[in-house]
């Protein structure tokens, strides 16, 4: 498939000015040194089908200030839906203002809207402990961006409003999710080689969890309202993000920290961050990175008494069983990698990631315990990143 597209690209660049085609592709080879675990989909075998993908974009300029963009991404990984990731109309009256209407990527974090474009970031795999925590990546709505300069400061405001209605994937299941009133604002301030970004995002989440809902109703009928309330996945979710970056010709430091707070008991609170430093010796970039995720539920003590009646015992046991399905999840990732920019549009990367998950693993996120996992594993990866 990729070979066919290699053939197409010269044609694409020669296309009419009004209609422009471009694209990106990544071919990623990975191997985890542990038989008892899985990390970012990689297991003990050597696989090419986890992060490899192909993206195609078409931009059509309707006039000087209006354009239409669509982006299709085909994933090899089965936990992501191939198809249209972007489809929007842009109103761009001048260099300062841009308004987009349609299906877009959610700008929660620095790289949320360019996750798939591996060529755009130094790492081979984004700091997973951090980027694992954005559960849905697209929304349908409106996004506006305004930029201005004050002396040597460049300030950028972005705001969006829309909705999400699709499946989200947690490894154990596909969950129908609806988010309404999804709204967010972020600001980036850049001064010389420094940039800071802060963002706030919120949405009213409705997650289809039929079993939990039925059980919750049952508990409410018997009068255990606290427990019934806890078994609720719906409500407001808020994301806070802050990042600080510095880069010059020779080196870079990138860092991001985020907090997610969920109102519903079945929605975890997540604290995560990463920090990364790199050294450029063109055409190579050498980097190290450390990321950490701390996902926790506000677990409620069991209010259903044991030993009163067999019915209550069953109820209490079921409640505890339900709680146990939502364990906290902590993991850390330390990586070292090398990027080699072979051509101006082609890079080779290699990366080694040491993953630690010493306490609990829910098997819902990047790290999975296949049985007997001792909490430590190393992922080896090689990649070709290409844009055209």
């Amino acid at each position: 498939m990729i070979l066919i597209l290699l053939g197409i690209s010269p044609v694409a660049s020669a296309a009419d000015d009004k209609l422009q085609f471009s694209g990106f592709a990544r071919l990623v080879l990975g191997h985890l040194d542990d038989k008892n675990a899985e990390y970012v989909g990689y297991d003990n075998s050597i696989s090419l089908d986890q992060q490899s993908l192909l993206g195609l974009q078409a931009d059509y300029h309707l006039s000087d200030s209006f354009s239409l963009t669509s982006q299709f991404v085909g994933y090899t990984e089965d936990q992501r839906n191939s198809g249209l990731q972007w489809l929007y109309l842009t109103y761009h009256p001048n260099n300062a203002l841009q308004v987009k209407l349609g299906r877009q990527r959610i700008p929660f974090f620095n790289y949320s809207d360019s996750l798939d474009v591996g060529f755009a970031y130094p790492w081979l795999t984004l700091p997973q402990q951090f980027y694992d925590t954005a559960f849905f990546s697209t929304f349908d709505g409106i996004l506006a961006n305004y930029q201005f300069a004050i002396n040597d400061w460049l300030i950028n405001y972005e705001g969006y409003w829309g909705r999400f209605d699709d499946k989200i994937y947690l490894s154990t299941q596909e969950i129908n999710t609806k988010v309404i009133g999804l709204v967010g604002i972020n600001a980036t301030v850049a001064y010389k080689n420094f940039s800071l970004r802060a963002s706030y995002n919120q949405g009213d989440v409705n997650i289809e969890q039929d079993e939990a809902e039925l059980f919750s109703q049952l508990l409410r009928q018997v009068g255990f309202t606290q427990s019934a309330d806890w078994l609720n996945a719906n409500g407001l979710i808020e994301f806070y993000q802050f990042s600080a970056n510095y880069e010059n010709l020779n080196y870079f430091v990138r860092s991001e920290i985020a907090k997610m707070v969920g109102e519903g008991g079945l929605v975890a609170d997540i604290d995560s961050f990463y920090i990364s430093a790199g050294y450029n010796f063109y055409p190579y970039t050498l980097y190290i990175s450390y990321g950490k995720k701390d996902l926790h539920f506000d677990h409620l003590a069991n209010e259903i008494p044991f030993g009163v009646s067999p019915e209550l015992d069953v109820l209490a046991a079921t409640y505890l069983g339900a709680l146990a399905q939502f364990p906290d999840d902590k993991s850390a990732g330390t990586k070292i990698g090398l990027r080699w920019d072979v051509l101006s549009n082609l890079a080779l990367k290699t990366e080694v990631t040491y993953v630690e998950a010493n306490d609990e693993i829910s098997n819902d996120y990047a790290v999975k315990d296949l049985g007997g996992f001792d909490g430590e594993a190393i992922l080896y990866q090689l990649a070709i990143e290409w844009v055209f």
């Binding site: 471009s22 963009t69 474009v117 755009a120 300069a149 460049l154 010709l249 844009v387």
Partner: protein
């Protein structure tokens, strides 16, 4: 040992490229307002798709061009690979597109002459037609 050698060579190479980088660069515009003078940061913004107070449009040289390498080093302060990855991010998130690329210094001059508001970078010492204005110089 091999690694140490590789690092040493790369380290020396970076000095050599710094030595080459002693040539001056001028930023030239086709503008009616001859009084425009930009700061380094404004030039950087202009070529990285940021806003500046004037209605100017950047044209660039191709990645392998030596004047472009000097411009990256002295004005933008980023390596070519970082600039390429920045533009990939901008393009595929629909934010901005990279400046138009013109093949050589001579063609940049021609392009500037024929396009009002166009801005390009050139090596200092190049013969400039009268109707073009130098809006920034870096030694």
């Amino acid at each position: 040992m091999k690694k140490t050698c590789a690092f040493l060579i790369l380290f020396l190479l970076s000095f050599i490229s710094a030595a080459i980088a002693s040539d001056a660069i001028i930023v030239v515009a086709n503008t009616d307002d001859k009084s425009i003078q930009l700061s380094r940061q404004q030039v950087r913004n202009l070529f990285m798709g940021g806003v500046i107070p004037y209605d100017l449009k950047a044209v660039a040289l191709p990645p392998e061009n030596q004047t472009r390498v000097l411009f990256n080093t002295k004005v933008v302060g980023l390596t070519e690979s970082r600039i390429q990855s920045y533009w990939a991010q901008m393009r595929f998130t629909g934010r901005k597109t990279a400046p138009k690329e013109v093949k050589s210094e001579d063609l940049v001059l021609k392009y500037l002459e024929n396009n009002d508001g166009a801005v390009g970078y050139l090596p200092a010492g190049i013969a400039l037609p009268n109707d073009l204005t130098i809006i920034y110089t870096i030694q």
